[in-house]
Structures are given as C-alpha cells and as structure tokens.
C-alpha cells in the first residue's frame, strides 16, 4: 500500500507540476511581474499625467534562477498535493470505492475546492504589495479552512444519511462564518484591474492543474495496483 501511494503521488505530482508551471509562466507570472513595477514604485497607479498608467509596460524577461526556483517549488507543492489526494484515494479504495482516471478528475476538482477555491473566498490570491492581515493569523485560517472543507466534501461524497450531509454543509460553512483575517486599512499600490485578473487566473490555473492531478492519480493508482 505504501509503495503504491508513494509511486502514484510522485509520478502524478511531478507530471502535473510541469503542466502547472507552464500555465503559471504563460498566464500568471506576467501579472506578478507587472504588479512588482507598482510595488517597487517604477510605475504609479494613475501616475502624474492624469491620463492613467500604461497597461502594457515592458516586463523583465526570463530569469533562470528565479524561474528555475519557481519550477522546483511548483514540483514540491504539487507533489505535496498529490500525497494528500492519493492518501484520500487510498482510504476510499480501502472502503471499497473504485477510483479511475475519470472519477479521478472529480477527486482533483474536489481537491481544488478544498485547497484553493474555499480559502480564496476569504483570502483571494494576492499580488505582491497587497495589504493583508498578519501572516500567521492568515495561515491558521488557511489550514483550518482547507481541513474542514476537505472533511465536508468527503462527507458529502461518502456520507449516507441526511445528518451526515448536514454536518458536511456545516463544515463547508464554518470558515466563512468565522471569516478570514483582513487588514485594517487598504494600502496596496497595484491597480485593481491587475489584482482581479491575477486572482481569476491563479484560480483557473489551479483548477486545470488539479483536474490533471486527479486524472493522473487515478491512472497511476490503477497502474500500480
């Protein structure tokens, strides 16, 4: 069982990471680089001219060290996601449920909801320089939200009684009833147009990557059986 879990998680995690890194470089990184021009003061929102600031500034090109680190850490993070997802797949298999590449996509989407979408409702993916509450408080809320959302989704999928489903809904709702830690004042220098685009793309890339991760987990899980 352990060998099957490790093999599945490493293969699924690494392959997904390269797809995720490619999508991030194409769709997310340009917005990050653009926001850094505002964080550093090279560009100023509204500017001095009164006619606005260019939406198409020159961006720094490929940086081997910086971008190489991004690929490396994407691989570590997606392997971490894969270990969590495959742990769930193994537990479901143990209980007699079959997981295939097709149902794996559903597993992946559920993982995306637990790890990215639900936390994003309280703490949207933020650009460098965005105003935010204390990082430790946000991390506590983040981990708590991921944990109870995953539990809630599990209970919806595998629960068999209305009482269990009611508990599941409560699990999904509690983090948002408590509410995420937010800053007292807004001080972010980056135009909201970039921030909104960034949040939407970060989530879209997350969804695509998690769907791939779920499908590959289902595939390697059965290959290793």
């Amino acid at each position: 069982m352990l060998t099957r879990i490790i093999t599945t998680a490493i293969f699924a995690g690494f392959i997904t990471a390269f797809a995720a890194a490619l999508l991030q470089f194409l769709l997310v990184q340009p917005l990050l680089l653009q926001s850094e021009l505002y964080e550093s003061g090279a560009l100023v929102h509204f500017g001095a001219s009164g006619t606005g600031t260019t939406a198409h500034p020159d961006l720094p090109g490929f940086d081997p060290l910086r971008d190489g680190m991004s690929v490396l850490f994407t691989a570590i993070i997606y392997t971490g996601y894969a270990f969590l997802l495959v742990a769930g797949v193994a537990l479901a298999t143990e209980q007699g449920h079959e997981v295939t590449p097709r149902t794996g996509i559903l597993w992946g989407i559920a993982g995306f909801v637990a790890v990215q979408l639900a936390p994003a409702m309280g703490l949207p993916p933020e650009l460098p320089g965005a105003a935010a509450a204390d990082v430790a408080a946000r991390q506590v809320w983040w981990f708590g939200t991921v944990g109870v959302t995953a539990l809630g989704l599990w209970l919806i999928a595998f629960g068999k009684s209305p009482v269990v489903w009611a508990i599941a809904l409560l699990c999904l709702a509690v983090p948002h009833i408590i509410g995420a830690p937010h800053p007292d004042t807004f001080t972010g220098p980056v135009p909201p147009e970039i921030a909104a685009h960034f949040a939407a793309r970060a989530l879209a890339v997350g969804l695509a990557s998690w769907a791939i991760l779920g499908m590959l987990s289902g595939y390697f899980w059965n290959k290793e059986a």
């Binding site: 069982m1 352990l2 879990i5 490790i6 998680a9 991030q24 997310v28 990184q29 990050l32 910086r66 971008d67 680190m69 991004s70 490396l72 850490f73 994407t74 570590i76 993070i77 392997t79 971490g80 996601y81 894969a82 270990f83 969590l84 997802l85 495959v86 742990a87 193994a90 537990l91 143990e94 990215q116 936390p119 994003a120 703490l123 949207p124 993916p125 933020e126 650009l127 460098p128 935010a132 990082v135 946000r138 991390q139 983040w142 970060a202 989530l203 890339v205 997350g206």
Partner: protein
Amino acid sequence: MKTEAQVAVKSQALVGSNVLAIAFAAFVGVGLIAIAGHVQATTLHDAAHDVRHATGFPCH
C-alpha cells in the same frame, strides 16, 4: 489450512498497516505544502515567492 481466527488476525494487521501508510502519506503531503508554501524563513520565502503568490498561499 488457516483457521478463521488466523485469517482475521492477518487481515486486521493488513488494515492496520494500510491505515498507517495512509496517515504517513497525509503527513508527507502536509509537510511538503507547509515547507514549500508556508514557512517564513527568508531564503525559503524568496525562492518560493512567485509560486506562493500564484497558488494563493498567504505569503507575506
């Protein structure tokens, strides 16, 4: 031929080791995500910076 009790003991041990394997996998997963995504040590933070933002982790 195995007695029923022997089979039961063996399958119980198997279930126990499976649960341990699953718990271990979950622990590794949380560990990797915490190290790559959440630890605030400066070197780690700087190296993982872009990915932390792009995956929506609380970064700074």
